[in-house]
């Protein structure tokens, strides 16, 4: 996946000279995960910038760059550090169009690795997407595989609105997958049915998609037909895809890494209970991080949604 992300940026930078890349360690070092590897060498010091260590500064200057004609791709080194830039993201970038009644727009992409399972220190694994889906004006994209990552990132870069592009760190090197060499786009706001099924709908995004898909495949052998939907984008949200599946299966599970309370899963469940209540034959199940700070490496696997918990959840759903 990391190569797909790198390629998307490289190809877009070749296409559009207004695109620049900035962030901590994105230059010489090529990013702590090598997402920006080679970009400095190819595009030079006028396009790729190692910034001082200041997240609000990175996003705040990106806004100024964007309103004056550039197309910045900013990196927040780990999503846990985004709290430092909350004002610039949620109160500034998100509201530029509104604040200027359309005179200015703010086409920036903020990339950031997120998610657990890789034994990081504190605040390197938090899934904080729900802070941004509650911030109108921002788009939130969360790919789950290399193919989508490339197509969605290119779309994000070409989008006229600020896009938060959250990359599941655990999946950076988890795949061998052929990704088309030429640039391509995937529209923001279209979910993908990963696997069709009739008994249960599993809704996931980012890091939990491969997990859900794996469990669904295993359940198939046990005679349970689970449909897996990868939202890909939380804002805009492909609500039709959700409803269509819920109407078919009547049983819904939502799986995300963020802490449960107030996670985006709550919004999905609320929307379903608002618009497809009578299609439900079982209570909605959310499998999510527990309502604690992201824990220490030695116990994180028990904290994160895992196969055991998903199977349990499916069993619960099928009991109805």
């Amino acid at each position: 996946m990391i190569e797909a992300i790198n390629e998307a940026m490289r190809q877009e930078m070749e296409r559009d000279p207004r695109i620049i890349v900035l962030g901590e360690d994105v230059g010489e070092n090529g990013g702590v995960f090598r997402a920006t590897d080679g970009l400095l060498a190819q595009f030079g010091e006028g396009r790729v910038f190692d910034t001082p260590l200041a997240e609000s500064g990175i996003i705040g200057t990106s806004i100024g760059l964007a309103i004056n004609g550039m197309r910045p791709i900013a990196e927040i080194q780990f999503l846990g550090f985004v709290y430092q830039a909350m004002d610039q993201l949620a109160a500034q970038a998100a509201r530029i169009r509104f604040r200027s009644a359309g005179r200015f727009s703010c086409p920036i992409v903020v990339r950031s690795p997120y998610g657990g399972g890789v034994r990081t220190p504190e605040l390197h694994s938090d899934a904080l997407e729900a802070l941004f889906t509650h911030s109108p004006g921002l788009k939130v994209v969360m790919p789950s595989n290399p193919y989508d990552a490339k197509g969605l990132l290119i779309s994000a870069i070409r989008d006229e609105d600020p896009v938060l592009f959250l990359e599941p760190m655990k999946l950076y090197r988890a795949f061998r997958m052929e990704v088309p060499e030429e640039p391509y786009t995937i529209p923001l706001g279209q979910a993908r049915v990963v696997k069709e099924g009739d008994d249960v709908t599993i809704i996931a995004w980012g890091a939990t998609v491969p997990l859900a898909a794996k469990v669904a495949a295993e359940m198939e052998a046990k005679g349970v037909s689970a449909e897996v939907i990868d939202l890909r984008c939380l804002q805009p949200l492909d609500f039709d895809a959700i409803i269509a599946s819920v109407e078919k299966t009547g049983r819904v599970m939502i799986v995300h890494e963020a802490v449960k309370t107030g996670g985006f899963g709550a919004e999905v469940a609320a929307l379903i209970s608002e618009r497809a209540l009578f299609s439900l034959s079982a209570p909605i199940v959310r499998i999510a991080g527990y309502d604690t700070p992201y824990p220490v490496p030695s116990v994180e696997d028990d904290w994160l949604p895992n196969a055991e918990r998903i199977v349990e959840g499916i069993e619960t759903l099928l009991r109805y």
Binding site: G60, G64, L65, G69, R97, L237
Partner: protein, 359 residues
């Protein structure tokens, strides 16, 4: 040891409180220029006073007056080119008017209309910033873009003494110096952040010296001396345009009125203090100079005031007469295209509006 007690402090001043100054320095300013500066400051003061009154009458919403800061605002704005970029806070009304904001638009703004937020195309003023110091970073990014594009424009971040305490100010100064971008940090030190006096805001003797933390130059200027402000700003802007990078300017001034119309300054400062500063009024000292040179009369003054008052009335009435936006418009400025769920909300609102008739 870096000892702040040992830093020499100088204040740039050309025209003193009584309108006197070094003749050689004064000679650099043409009569025309002096008249223009005075007219603009007087216009600004009249507008400010009218707005304050209109707020008291309930005709406009909360307003943050700038009386006392005209020299800082007009002097700095006079040194700019139309293509330069301005990043104002709520108090830079005089700056914005000088830089092309139509007065009528400001009435839309203070009447809380969406239309008040849209600067006309070609007017390079960023929307008024409410979050203290957040605009300083935008100014740096904008200047950075100018540099990358090879354009000669300068960006100016306007902010107050209080703003220098925010982390964003610090990050902006640092980025600006590291990337050596054409941005001017223009601080109007009006001695207060709402009720908090300068000495509680920072233990630094001046704001200008804060530039040293970033390897940047800082200048302290008498902010009530429009000549000194203009001259300082012009040099900073020219240096930035030549690629010499950013500068911090501290204009020492005073907010003669309340913080906003919702504020009662008698809670936190004594009338004597205000009187001391009234004696340093930026308009008074320039008028004394003009009068001494025989360039300005009471009659001219009255004519100007009357003319600006008419201008204000006309702008206000035009604003009132124009159609006020409705809740429906709000949905159009969130994304380039409204996502489905948002479009549904807009429909809901439109249905409700239609049902209940135009309110």
């Amino acid at each position: 040891m870096f000892d702040p007690g040992k830093l020499p402090v100088e204040v740039v001043q050309i025209l003193d409180e009584n309108g006197n100054g070094d003749e050689r320095q004064l000679a650099a300013f043409s009569d025309e220029w002096l008249l223009r500066a005075y007219r603009e400051m007087r216009r600004a003061r009249v507008i400010d006073e009218r707005l304050l009154r209109m707020q008291r009458q309930g005709r406009i919403g909360t307003y943050a007056p700038f009386s006392g800061q005209e020299a800082a605002q007009i002097g700095s704005a006079l040194a700019l080119h139309k293509d330069d970029w301005i990043f104002p806070s709520y108090r830079e009304v005089a700056v914005c008017l000088m830089h092309g904001m139509p007065l009528e638009q400001f009435f839309h703004y203070v009447q809380g209309r969406l239309s008040g937020k849209r600067m006309p195309e070609g007017v390079n003023i960023f929307p008024t910033q409410i979050i203290i110091a957040a605009q300083t970073l935008h100014a740096v990014g904008c200047a950075w873009a100018s540099k990358l594009k090879g354009e000669p424009h300068v960006s100016v971040a306007y902010f107050g003494d209080g703003a220098t305490s925010e982390g964003d100010f610090h990050e902006a100064m640092n980025f600006a110096a590291v990337y050596n971008v054409p941005v001017i940090f223009f601080c109007q030190n009006n001695q207060y952040a709402i009720s908090v006096p300068y000495r509680k805001q920072t233990a630094s003797r001046t704001i200008a010296q804060k530039a040293l933390a970033y390897g940047m130059k800082g200048v302290l200027v008498d902010g009530n001396d429009v000549l000194a402000v203009y001259e300082t700003m012009k040099q900073a802007v020219e240096a930035a345009r030549r690629g010499e990078g950013p500068m911090l300017i501290e204009a020492l001034t005073y907010r003669l009125g309340p913080h906003t119309t919702a504020d009662d300054p008698t809670k936190y400062r004594r009338p004597e203090e205000v009187e001391t500063w009234r004696a340093k009024d930026p308009l008074r000292r320039l008028r004394l100079l003009l009068e001494r040179r025989g360039l300005w009369t009471e009659a001219q003054e009255d004519a100007l005031v009357a003319q600006v008052n008419d201008e204000v009335t006309a702008a206000y009435e035009a604003a009132i007469a124009s159609k006020s936006g409705s809740i429906v418009d709000v949905f159009d400025y969130v994304y380039s295209e409204a996502p489905t769920l948002l479009a549904e909300q807009k429909d809901e609102v439109m249905r409700r509006k239609q049902r209940s008739g135009v309110r």
